[in-house]
Point group: C2
Chain length 458, copies 2
């Protein structure tokens, strides 16, 4: 059995702590067993590891999230990077073609697709293990896990059984009903319906045949080139609703979709993360502050306050799911990003009267990591080292740098920086148009740089 962990998505419902480079699954707001804070992806990875499934897991992610996922799960291989963000059907197809054509898996291999954002107990993963047997026993095309409802919620999709016999471990699926009203939901629960929690399983042959039928390549390298032609739809819509032979396994345990601030705050073990104060006469309020600026909540009730360099949300908890509609205007440059080599934070941005732009960042490069050797066409940079030591590569010359050193990098100057110890610097970019795309990489490893450049005498 192989697993596909779906870790794409932008998570605008958790603005401002999530952005294009840091989706909700990377927010460290949950408590781990050792008392530290961990993210959804770290929690699910810990659970997969514990049950012995992480080695069989492939992570589907987007280009902008590769760095952070590697930092958070400490894993470099078994990542499949989507060329663009196109919903779950294309993502699942791409990883399946990778398993088939690159990893050369047997077509009878059972594949289980797992979203990254449900908050579940460990026994949920025992159910996932069971899926392999059930698929093989039942000869169904698709196997699902359904969650036994704890209330007639109108927020979820329901899996309806073909008959009302629920004494078996699983049932054959008749159809799906999306977000029924409360009365309808009550009736569905009476006939044994389950919540659809987004877990799908199938034999690899199923999806490979499907791609062939639809006229898409099954070879990974070819499919990546045609990725934009895959329908931008969900697996639910593209596959689930058109297949007859589906079974569902019942999970009777804790499950929660951590998609909105009201759901997340219910699972937080503390009411405050970051600097600030919640007054004693405030009730049922949560503060998540990633800024250095203290935040005081005074005499308020049922609020969630979330602050990052991207924005500050002050919301009634029950209203918080509708943030998605309001943030369209503020989808600007991310103010904080985790990268393969460390992180950066935007401190300031301004335009001059002449139309030039100036961007000030604080950048941290972790010991042993380096910024790749590259140059910019339209901007100069000034780096002032404030912490740590490193080696600066600049137009084929190398030199050691330390706190207090100021490095001037003109347009078209080749430059790179390796941290010998954890290194921090203030970067001031200046130019006519400061865009992330203005970077020409020279694709050299640090070893190659050291070979091709020469050290300046001190």
């Amino acid at each position: 059995m192989k697993l596909i962990l779906l870790s794409g998505g932008s998570g605008k419902r958790l603005w401002p702590l999530s952005n294009d480079a840091r989706s909700k699954q990377f927010l460290k707001v949950l408590e781990s067993k050792n008392g530290n804070l961990q993210s959804m992806v770290q929690r699910v990875w810990e659970q997969l590891t514990k049950i012995g499934l992480s080695e069989s897991t492939y992570v589907a992610t987007s280009k902008s999230q590769v760095d952070i996922i590697q930092n958070q799960i400490g894993r470099k291989d078994n990542l499949v990077v989507e060329p663009s963000r196109r919903d779950t059907f294309p993502a699942i197809s791409l990883v399946s073609s990778y398993l088939y054509s690159v990893e050369k898996m047997n077509l009878n291999e059972v594949v289980v697709v797992l979203p990254v954002d449900p908050y579940v107990e460990d026994d949920f993963f025992e159910k996932i293990k069971n899926l392999e047997n059930v698929i093989n026993q039942s000869q169904a095309d698709i196997g699902l896990i359904g969650v036994k409802p704890t209330s007639p919620s109108s927020k979820y999709g329901y899996i309806i059984p073909k008959n009302d016999l629920v004494d078996k471990d699983y049932f054959e699926v008749k159809n799906f009903i999306e977000k029924p009203n409360e009365n309808e939901a009550k009736n569905l629960i009476d006939i044994g319906a389950l919540w659809n929690c987004g877990v799908f399983s199938f034999r690899l042959s199923f999806i490979i045949n499907l791609l062939e039928e639809k006229g898409f390549p099954t070879n990974y390298e070819d499919l990546i080139l045609q990725y934009e032609k895959l329908p931008k739809t969900s697996f639910d819509y593209e596959v689930l609703e058109r297949v007859n032979n589906i079974i569902a396994l019942s999970y009777n345990g804790y499950w929660k979709d951590l998609g909105t601030w009201d759901a997340i705050t219910e699972e937080m073990s503390t009411s405050q993360i970051g600097v600030g104060t919640i007054s004693r006469d405030s009730n049922n309020s949560h503060l998540l502050n990633e800024l250095d600026i203290p935040i005081i909540l005074l005499g308020v009730n049922n609020l969630v306050v979330a602050a990052s360099p991207d924005g500050i949300l002050i919301s009634d908890k029950a209203k918080s799911p509708s943030i998605k509609e309001l943030v369209g205007d503020y989808n600007n440059r991310p103010m904080y990003e985790e990268r393969r080599w460390g992180w950066y934070r935007v401190l300031d941005f301004t335009k001059t009267d002449e139309g030039n732009e100036v961007l000030t960042k604080r950048i941290c490069i972790k010991a042993g990591k380096n910024l790749s050797y590259h140059y910019h066409n339209d901007r100069s940079e000034t780096w002032t080292i404030i912490k740590g030591e490193g080696i600066f590569a600049h137009n084929e010359k190398l030199c050691f740098v330390k706190p207090g050193d100021v490095l001037k990098i003109n347009e078209m100057d080749k430059h790179g920086l390796k941290a010998l110890t954890d290194l921090e610097l203030i970067e001031i970019q200046a130019g006519s148009q400061l865009i992330e795309d203005d970077i020409a990489r020279l694709y050299l490893t640090w070893e190659e740089i050291e070979e091709q450049c020469y050290f300046l005498t001190k």
Copy 2:
């Protein structure tokens, strides 16, 4: 007649937009007649100017507020700077000694003391003009203005008349009652009591005699040296409650003490200042945002949200007066200050593993202004010019600077900077202890610097 405008105070009740260098009276949240935003001090100065009293007005202020008051009212003379913050009795005594010994005013001159924070209509200032006649007619020691109450509020002090005849323009004062309960307040209003709004007037001789009686010098230069010995109490407590011969003039018009967020927001003509969004389903909520970071209010009611680099307050409006008790912990380095030469804003602060500190600021120097020639014992500075042009003085050398120039200033290096056009720079301070007091000024005018230094050839 001379006026003393009391503009000291720290205004912690309006945290985080007020700090030691920028009290509530400097916040630009009120709407001026031309539709721009103006501060309390600008509003009262505009009103004093209109009625022809600003030329006769002396402003009592603290050292840290001299720069901002000069910027806001465009006035350099007639400022009397308190050596330390010691309440209203010492401040009024100091300005009185200045009028007496420096300005050589006649002891019969009538002096009116005016707090800076009441929000009043223009006819309030007509009443102030009347005080001179009333003091002279009545031969009272002290003349007050009392506001005709509009409700039996228990927030204010009440001025009680000697008899219930209120047909005259003024009455003789029997006594004062502070913050009565609502029933008591009703009874006081029935006998013609007025709200005490903190306006006092007296002949100059009155306060000079009082200082002599108490054994304090009446000469300004001497009193400044003994300022710390003056009782740290209010004029109300030290004088008003011990004098029998007081009259009060009745003002029947709009008056409001703009001391708390709930009062301020009632006088704001807009519900939002700064970047952000208030959702349509939010009610009676105000947003004042001085950050570049957008703030979204979603589905909230009766909130005031105020944000500056010093902190972010999210408060129920009715609870907002109690912010004063909560901010003690956050009384740190101010993150934004207006100065004589422009302004600065702290972008970042961090400590290195070796215990050094690094502070990053964005600094703006207005065209024609300059940073004084000075040096630091324990810190180096790196200045990167990002906007505008200027002249840099550095260890007796001068050079022109422009955007992109990086200036390295080591410990003990003498340096200064004059802006030829509005000039901005990013400053990175580094040192063992970054305190504002580590500055040795050389007390040269810019003309003297240009005489004593020589220009480097470009």
